[in-house]
Amino acid sequence: MATIKLTRREVATALSASVVLRAQAPAPQLSQNPALSPDDELKAARDSNRQNSEQLAKFPLPMSTEPVVHFKA
C-alpha cells in the first residue's frame, strides 16, 4: 500500500474534502436497542464465528475436495 507525502496544494485539497464532510446531512438519532458494550460486541462477533464454524463442521467433505484458491508456479 503506497501512500505519499503531501505538498501544500495537496494538503489544501485534502482539507477541502473535510469541508465536504462538514456539509453532509447530520446523522440521525439511532434507535439504540440496548447498546452493547465493546466487550459484548466482541463476544457477539466471536459467538457468530463459532456458530459459522459449527455450520461448516456439519458439512461432510471428501479429502479430494481442494479449496478454490490455487497456487500458480
Binding site: I4, E10, A25, P38, L42, N52, L56
Partner: protein, 476 residues
Amino acid sequence: MASIPDDIFFATITEINQKLKAKEFSVQELTKAFSDRLERLGPTYNALALSLRKPAHREARDVDGDIKRERFRGALQGIPFGAKDLLSYAKYPTTWGARPYSGQVFDYTATSLTKLAKMGAILTGKLAMVELAGGPAYRYANASLTGPGLNPWDRTRWSGGSSSGSGIAVAAGLVTFALGSETSGSILTPSAFCGVTGLRPTYGLVSRHGAMGLSWTLDKIGPMCRSAEDCGLVLHEIAGADGQDPATAGKSFYYAPQFSRDLKFIRVGFAPVDFDEAAEPAARPDFAKALEIIRSLGVQVTEVKLPEFPYGPIISTIISSEAASIFEPLIKSGKVDELADPKQIAGLKAGLEIPATDYLKAMRIRSLIQSAFSDLLDDVDVLLAPSRFGPAPKITQPLDRPGSDRPMPAAPGLAALIPAGNLAGLPALSLPCGFADGMPIAIQLVGRPFTENTLLAIGRDFQARTDWHRRRPPMD
C-alpha cells in the same frame, strides 16, 4: 454559454454523447453543470466524498479539443461520472469511507479509472461509501465517514450499501454513471434501493488494481447506471486483463447486444416462493408484473431450486478471514476503534481469531458450490429473483435485524442468491421493476461466468417495455 437542460442530468450515456457530438453544449459546460449539481446536492444525501471539479475541468477542456477536431473516442467521451471512494485517484484523498484513512493519498490511479479517462469520460467526484465497504458486517446505516446514505426517493430511508454514494448519485442525477464495488451485495443492494441499474461483473473480468481490498477472492468492480445499455457501454471500457491485478481472468468484454442469442432460446429459472411469499406484501404486485414482462420477452421460464449449502456461514467466514488479514495493521494498531460501527470493529477483531481450518473448509465447500452452479446453469441460462425482497429500510433501523416479524417461507427459494452468486463468481444485473411504499424495488438476473451480454440483452428488452429505470426521485 449554453445552459444545460434539467433532462440532461437524467439522460443516458448515448443520449448525452449524441448531444455532445451535435455540439448542443460543450464538455466543459456539461462538466461544470454536473459539478455544480454534485457539490450542491451531494452533501444533502451524504453522497459526496470529494468533488474533483478542478481536474474534471482540465479533462473536459482536453476532450472538447478532441471533439472539435472530430477525434471521437467512443460513447463515454465527455460523460461525467463518479467513483466509489474505494478507488484510488492519484494525489487526491481516498478515504475508503473510514475515519482511520481520512488523510490517505495514493500516488497512483485505479486501473478502471485510468481506462475510463483514456476514453474521455470525466471523473467529477469520489462518492461516499460504507466504511471499509462494510467489512465483515455492520449494524447501522451510518457506518460511514460521511454519515448514512440518504435515499433520494425518501431521505428517511437508507440508500443501501456499501456503494451508497454511487447509487444515490446516479438516482439523483448527480452523475451519469458511477463505479461501485461488490463483495457480497454492495452493487445490487444500493442499485435496487435507489432505483438504478447495476451490474456486478464476473469475478476477474474487471481489474481491482487501485481498489481497497476487503476480500481478495470476492471483490469486484462494476458500473451503476441509468440503464442496462449504459452498463454494457461502461463494462466494455473497464473490463480486461491487468498485470497489476493477479485475479484478472485475462478476458475482455465487448458489448454487442446485436449478436446476443435470440431470447426465445434463453432459459430463465426462478422460484415462485420468492415472488409470492418471501417478497414483502407491498412489493408483490410489481414483482408479479415484472415476472410477467420477463415471460413476455419470449424466454423459456422454468422453476429451479438453489443447491443446498450453508451460504451465509461460508461467505461470512471467508470475508471475515480475508478482511482481518488485510486490515491486521489497522486492528493491531488500535485505530480500528475509530470506525463508526461497533459491530464492524468487533467483527474485524474477531476475524483475526478464525482458525485457518475454518477458512480452508469454507473455501473447499466453495469449490463444490462452483460445481453445483455449473450444473444448475447447464439446465437454465439465467436465474431470476428479486434483488431484495422489499424496499429500502428506514435509516434508523438496525440492519442486522429483520424489519418485520413476518415469518420466512418454509422453502428457501433463491433467497441466498446474493451470497451464492458472489461465492460462485457469477455476474448479476439488477433492474428497477416497480415500487413498494413509494420506494423502488428491483429484480436480479444471474448468469454463467462471462455471460454479461446475455444478462444485458434481457435487461435491454425488459427496459424497452418498462419505464421504471426512467423514473426520477422527487427533488428539492
